[in-house]
Amino acid sequence: MGDRAPADGDPILRVDGVTVRFGGVVALDGVSFDLKRGEVLGLIGPNGAGKTTLFNCLSRLYTPKSGSITFEGIDILAHPAHRIARFGMGRTFQNVAAFSTLSVFDNIRIGAHSRGVSDPLSDGLRLPRCRRNEDAVFEAASDIVDILSLGSVADLPIAGLPFGVQKRVELARALAARPTLLLLDEPAAGLNHDEIGELASLIRQIRDDLGITVLLVEHHMGLVMSVSDTVVVLNFGRKIAEGAPDAVQQNPAVIEAYLGHAA
Amino acid sequence: KGQTIKIGNTMPYSGPASAYGQIGMTIGHYIEKLNADGGVKGVKFEWVSYDDGYSPPKTFEQTQRLVESDEVHFLMSSLGTPTVSAINDYTNAMEIPLLFVSSGASKWGHPETHPWTMGWQPDYVSEGRIYGRYVLSEAPGGKVGILYQNDDYGKDYVNGFKEALGDKVSMIVAEEPYEVSDPTVDSQIIKLKSAGADIFLNITTPKFAAQAIRKVAELGWKPLHLLNNVSQSVGAVLKPAGLDNSKDIVSASYAKDPTDPAMKDDETMLAMHAFLDQYYPDADRASSFTVFGYGHGLTLEHLFNQLGDDLSREAIMSAAANLDFKLGTLRPGVTIKTSETDFYPIQSMWLTRFDGNSWVAFGDVLSGAAQGS
């Protein structure tokens, strides 16, 4: 893993003036920011501020009313959702979107779908090409299982696993595609303090060892502030602050809308 | 002597055509009676009748079971045009007699290609011709509207009818097909009426016949109403449709009408009722299907009375091809007659008019054979 060296310079992701409306609800209102390659960007904001909506725009599940999104120099709004993974963007979901009847291992293998090449006919005939691909996926998935310590549950159906484990499988699934950009939607929800510490080091490991850029949505301030290089704050679909974690944490507008005083 | 002969049969005891099931039941009970009476010339029968749900592949499977597993001696009275079509080639290839098919399709009478298959009732094409000729003679200037079932059965009638009209086929102003899966034929009737038809040729199966008769009355439409034989059952069609609504309908008929008061003293009908009392008390006595099944039973009895000691399939087939007798359930003048080249046992019919209670024959006994043959 880690075959792509982090290259500084141009942002890996540029979000420019993205607006999304649902009927009368304005979920995103002209949001713009850049994400530098090799950084962790924390995206925070009150409930309903539009964070998940932004993720859904990035992975093309929603189409913004206006604005543009450039990823690795590609105008991704011109592409359908299923092509995004191939461009190198991976994600997890806020409410765990697992393939519930399948085993953990298969969930992870599906994560590698975008890296494989096969068509139904050659798969059905089990051509040597497909067998080789299968073997490669098997190895890659096994590696990830080991990295994320999912070995003991790898053959179990994902549905009955504790929520926290499911979230970890989602992370493994996203990593299986070897993304250059990883979108994490509230990965710490449901984890206790200890586990969050591990998650923080895992995220750093993902950034530093694997060279993956991370966009992190999270309500756990300890985590956000400890791993983010930059923090962007949304409120009512609008960006209200952007900057280094410390600066954002002191920003009165952020405290007023999001953090509260007791934090 | 003392032999038991296995007879195979398929019937729609379930599914959309299950109303015909009583034909099979009647024959089965009649065979029970024959056996109880000591058989026909000492020969007893075993009636193996399977349900095919009116589905052709099922008919094939059940027939194969009858032939290859039950090893029946011959097949008799299997019902339905699409269903029996599925097995016609098979039974001929296996050289198993398939006698008295319960369907009036014209294809059961082709000894040159299918020497092991024989029909029973007048074929639908011939009956269609009878209606065509009647229209030509009765209302040569009329406008005909046709309602027909969109299958072989319906199309045979239409073809016979058109053939008889010949160059007057332009009298037909509207032809409306319906599918057995249609819930009602109301809209077809409305169209026929709107097309200005004053003659209504009603080629349907019982349920749709009843719907059509009632809808015609409901619309206040008063055409010359011709109803095909299959649907002329007083009990199963006209009563539900309303006897008043059915008044003056014209049909063609070869069998006696069980509801006809004149049949009260008819010898055959009395015998039938006695048989039903003893063996099949649940039977619907106002239904022509019961008479139909009873007629098949009598025909079987006659066939075996005619046979000698040789009960082989060939012998049975050649006996079936040499029938000539008066069957009690048939109207006067209508007989059963076959020959090596004529595999249509019943070919003549009477025109009948419904008088509000029963069918009254009029005119002469008619042959539906094609003109000049």
Binding site: S118, S149, S152 | M11, Y50, P56, A93, D152
Partner: protein
């Protein structure tokens, strides 16, 4: 494995490495292969033990199983509800019949043509189906099933389809090729068996491959699948095509085994039967197709033996309900849960003590 991440592990049996996982996967697939061979051996032996009629009934079982397999691929594996697979079955059958009757094509050569035709039609139907979910798709496919006989009857097509009468070509029934010491029924049986084995092999490969995982991902969570890079529309349409193709091949085999096609052979009850067979066999479990085929062919016969004629339907219905009571997930559910139980015991054996 480093210390930090290992803390995330739930404390169960010792974690396995890639090598042990691979070994276990191989063991399982060997087990599956052995089971398959046993079943195959039984199916090869049976025609020599059964009566002539028994052989032809078993041929029918195979044909239905094949169609059920096709349906299962679509509904069980890919999650697209179909109540109309009888339509593709019909198209396959008619393709074969028309090729044999009108073009004199030898029967084995009609199979690939039928496959291509039904695949194309399946894809064509799968495209609008992309927009329909669950019940809506069920209705659309059911509508297709209901409309099939009427379309086959269409008078403009009559020159080819034989209209309401359909096509009969008993004379073209396949003969036993020279030298084989088999009865006609046995030969037909083995021909059908060969096709079934090949298709099963194909379907099994498919399901255990990248494509198959994509199919299942779509079934479980289409949105997540899309985000993983699965082209949902393409896979769904393709799955529809393959599924229709398999059902079409089954139809094609019917038209060879029973040299007669007619619109009324393909009413919606056929589609319903296939559906019931799939449920009985086990939704999403390919070997279940055999059980489904057995059920669909034999259960009505059993019902008829048990009941008087009119009540056979009720008895069949009761048998079906009883079966669902005993095996809510079909036979496949029973087999899988007993396998799981076995494995659970196995896993517990050596590595207990936590």
């Amino acid at each position: 494995m480093d210390q930090t991440t290992s803390r995330l592990t739930p404390e169960t049996a010792a974690a396995s490495t890639s090598a042990t996982r691979r070994a276990r996967a191989r063991r399982r697939s060997l087990g599956g292969m052995a089971a398959t061979l046993v079943v195959l051996a039984v199916f090869v032996a049976l025609p020599f033990l059964l009566s002539n009629f028994g052989v032809s009934t078993l041929t029918k079982v195979l044909i239905y199983s094949l169609a059920i397999l096709g349906l299962n691929l679509l509904t069980g594996i890919n999650g697209q509800f179909s109540l109309g697979h009888g339509a593709f079955f019909a198209i396959g059958a008619y393709t074969t019949a028309i090729l044999m009757v009108h073009f004199g094509v030898p029967y084995p050569l009609t199979l690939p043509v039928a496959a291509v035709v039904t695949f194309a039609i399946g894809v064509a139907f799968g495209l609008p189906a992309l927009r329909l979910e669950n019940i809506y798709l069920a209705l659309a496919t059911f509508a297709l099933a209901v409309a099939t006989p009427q379309i086959l009857k269409l008078s403009p097509l009559e020159a080819w389809t034989g209209g309401v009468q359909g096509l009969q070509y008993y004379a073209m029934k396949p003969k036993v090729p020279l030298g084989l010491p088999l009865s006609a029924n046995q030969y037909m049986y083995f021909f059908v068996l060969l096709v079934c084995v090949l298709v099963y092999w194909f379907a099994h490969n498919l399901v255990t491959s990248r494509t198959g995982r994509a199919f299942m991902a779509i079934r479980d969570n289409p949105i997540a699948a899309r985000s993983m890079g699965v082209d949902v529309s393409r896979y769904k349409a393709t799955c529809f095509g393959i599924s229709a193709m398999i059902a079409g091949l089954a139809g094609s085999l019917t038209a060879i085994y029973l040299p007669f096609v007619a619109p009324d052979s393909f009413t919606f009850t056929l589609s319903i039967a296939l559906f019931v067979g799939m449920v009985v066999g086990g939704v999403g479990w390919l070997p279940g197709a055999i059980f489904g085929g057995l059920f669909v062919v034999y259960a009505p016969n059993v019902a008829q033996e048990v009941a008087t004629k009119g009540l056979a339907g009720a008895v069949y219905g009761l048998i079906l309900i009883l079966l669902i009571y005993l095996a809510p997930q079909g036979i496949g559910g029973l087999v899988r849960s007993s396998l799981r139980r076995l494995r659970h015991l196995n896993d517990k054996g050596p590595a207990s003590g936590h």
